[in-house]
């Protein structure tokens, strides 16, 4: 334990917060759609992957960084809209389990398209590489991207809270997440609410794509998949039924992974996924509403 504490220097902690911020953004993207559709989007990572490939293509053609980011957002949002139209909408009447299988199929579809298009080796996205340079604060070297990730996450979080708490559409989304059919009876427009939630989740996926490509610039067809799996675990651990607990779950799992991954030797940290998913099973069994849920509601995940 003393070795562990000694390894926990400030740098590891800051990096872990950065990773937690990115995972938290993904968790919000997944949690928002789950809130209104009861749909676990397994294909979320492939949206991130598509955005990352957009950045890679832009950097290959020496586009300026802003143009790459614009392309990334355009691609991800178009794909999100298409997914909503062709996968989510026709399956809305089905059970959550069927929708999970369908998004599983969508994930593999997108991954295979990327495999054909870009090959298994992938492409590097390097236009934002300078964000990887560290700046020194006291004795701690912090990579710029870590600061950017934390700031971006904070901005999105504040914007989202304002949207959900202060606007009509936000109120409608919260109502829909609580009880969709009653909300509709009271005049909430289903298409608008779902469309907005899916759109925001797409914006978050694009932002995550930008942040992740800076951290690991090599974009392959499997890009974002492992992160999505971990974030899904975090969302379940935190509690899917409330956006704040889902986000907190996503952040925590990123933070803890970053912390332990940085502090533990590889021989131990390689079994981290087993511990995390073991926790997922235990939480599903004993506390299906999640660790951070305020009170137990009647509905199970």
């Amino acid at each position: 334990v003393t070795g562990l504490v000694a390894a926990l220097n400030a740098q590891t902690v800051v990096d872990a917060v950065g990773l937690g911020a990115i995972y938290g953004l993904m968790a919000i993207g997944i949690g928002l759609v789950f809130g209104v559709l009861r749909l676990v989007n397994f294909a979320y990572g492939q949206l991130v992957m598509a955005g990352a490939f957009a950045l890679a293509v832009a950097s290959e053609r020496d586009w300026p960084a802003w143009a790459g980011i614009v392309l990334c957002f355009a691609v991800v949002l178009a794909l999100t809209a298409a997914m909503n139209q062709f996968v989510f909408r026709p399956l809305r009447a089905q059970s959550p389990a069927v929708m999970l299988v369908a998004t599983f199929a969508a994930a593999f579809l997108l991954q295979s398209v990327a495999l054909i298009w870009f090959g298994p080796l992938g492409k590097p996205a390097t236009s934002l590489a300078e964000l990887n340079r560290p700046i020194s604060i006291g004795s701690v070297d912090i990579r710029k991207i870590t600061i950017v990730a934390i700031v971006v996450a904070a901005i999105f979080l504040v914007a989202l809270v304002l949207l959900l708490e202060r606007t009509t559409i936000g109120l409608h989304m919260r109502a829909a997440a609580l009880d969709f059919s009653t909300a509709r009876l009271l005049g909430v427009r289903a298409e608008r609410v779902i469309g907005t939630a899916v759109l925001i989740s797409g914006v978050l996926a694009a932002a995550v794509a930008v942040l992740l490509t800076v951290q690991s610039p090599l974009v392959t067809p499997g890009f974002g998949l492992s992160q999505t799996i971990v974030v899904l675990a975090g969302v379940v651990l935190g509690g899917m039924n409330r956006l704040s607990s889902a986000a907190l779950g996503g952040f925590s799992i990123g933070f803890v992974s970053g912390l332990l991954g940085g502090a533990l030797p590889t021989a131990q940290s390689q079994y981290l996924p087993s511990v995390v998913f073991g926790l997922v099973i235990i939480v599903l069994l004993v506390r299906p509403d999640g660790l951070f849920a305020r009170s137990t509601t009647a509905e199970r995940v």
Partner: protein, 337 residues
């Protein structure tokens, strides 16, 4: 056994036998496609036995395939080669090897035991929760098999496992799976589980133990998956990545496309998707269709399968056979109850 029941058993058996016979008349290269298809029947029927009869989703069956493959693989490598292939195997595994049939029996036993162990806490879950929990099992199994090199090859592939799985063994494996699944679903246990699937409250009210019935099916289904895994490792040199997400996806796709509601749907789905997959695999290396040379880029197989699966889920959720006894769509009723 009624005439109707005989038909229900004979149709899938005939299909498998026909596939095996068809495979034997072609060249060695083509034979591989038929063996793969017959192995797929084993995977899909194993998955069907649980998912079809219980109406509960499982993303975890690739882990039972994996432990079966690991058991059979580790025990089949000749003792004198083990120290070269495995770096740090447990002594008891390193010093013993068994024959082909014994290794397959062990694979089935290990797969079944693992499924029972995992199922004991998990079988009270259903719907989305069951999907996520079984997915967690898949992640844990993959993680452990990949890094724990005391029980297998770790990050490497298996090698020196005798390649005993040909058409004959693959066909026998598929037939065993079909026989077990048929016997189960016509038995008292199978009917009880289907009663739970249709209306768990009513089934409970007449004294059926939901968790116990699901556990039976899960264990049996795990044993079949383990057997299929054993046959798989005797066919090609496996690594952990071969028994992970892709296998989960393809097996689930075959079951959904064929129709999760019936044994017939499982067998048809496995063979139809395998046939399509083989065609595309040939096409990826260039194929002449009616004088026109079609050249698909590599990777198009998963696209077609994924597209088909999404299409079937949207347009015909009960699969191409209609899966009359049950459809995935009815899992919705279970969810809200």
């Amino acid at each position: 056994v009624s005439t109707q029941n005989v038909e229900r058993l004979v149709a899938p058996v005939a299909l498998v036998v026909a596939a095996a016979l068809l495979g034997s008349v072609f060249s060695r290269e083509t034979e591989i496609y038929f063996i793969t298809a017959l192995l797929a029947v084993g995977f899909v029927v194993a998955l069907y036995l649980f998912v079809g009869n219980s109406g509960v989703l499982s993303f975890g069956h690739a882990s039972f395939v994996a432990v079966g493959a690991w058991a059979a693989g580790v025990l089949s490598v000749p003792v004198n080669e083990k120290s070269l292939i495995f770096s740090s195997l447990f002594p008891v595994l390193g010093e013993h090897s068994v024959g082909n049939v014994a290794s397959l029996a062990v694979a089935a036993a290990v797969g079944g035991a693992y499924a029972l162990f995992v199922g004991l806490p998990l079988m009270r879950l259903s719907g989305l929760t069951a999907g996520i929990a079984t997915f967690a099992v898949l992640e844990i199994t993959h993680n452990i098999l990949r890094y724990w090199d005391r029980i297998g090859p770790g990050t490497n592939s298996f090698s020196s496992v005798p390649e005993t799985t040909g058409l004959t063994q693959a066909a026998i494996g598929a037939l065993i799976a079909i026989g077990v699944a048929f016997a189960y679903q016509t038995s008292r246990l199978g009917r009880q589980l289907r009663a739970v699937r249709e209306d768990s409250a009513a089934a409970r009210a007449v004294g059926i133990g939901v968790v116990r019935q699901r556990l039976w099916a899960f264990g049996l289904s795990g044993a079949l998956a383990g057997l299929a895994g054993g046959l798989y490792v005797h066919f090609i040199p496996l690594s952990t990545e071969d028994v992970y997400l892709n296998l989960t996806f393809v097996t689930l796709a075959m079951l959904v496309i064929g129709g999760a509601g019936s044994l017939w749907g499982a067998v048809v789905g496995a063979l139809a998707v395998s046939a399509l997959d083989s065609f595309l695999a040939e096409a990826e290396s260039g194929i002449g269709v009616g004088g026109v040379s079609v050249d698909f880029p590599s990777g198009s197989r998963l696209i077609v399968v994924g597209f088909l699966m999404a299409l079937v889920l949207i347009l015909r959720p009960s699969g191409i056979t209609g899966g009359r006894e049950f459809s995935l769509a009815r899992m919705r009723g279970k969810e809200t109850s």
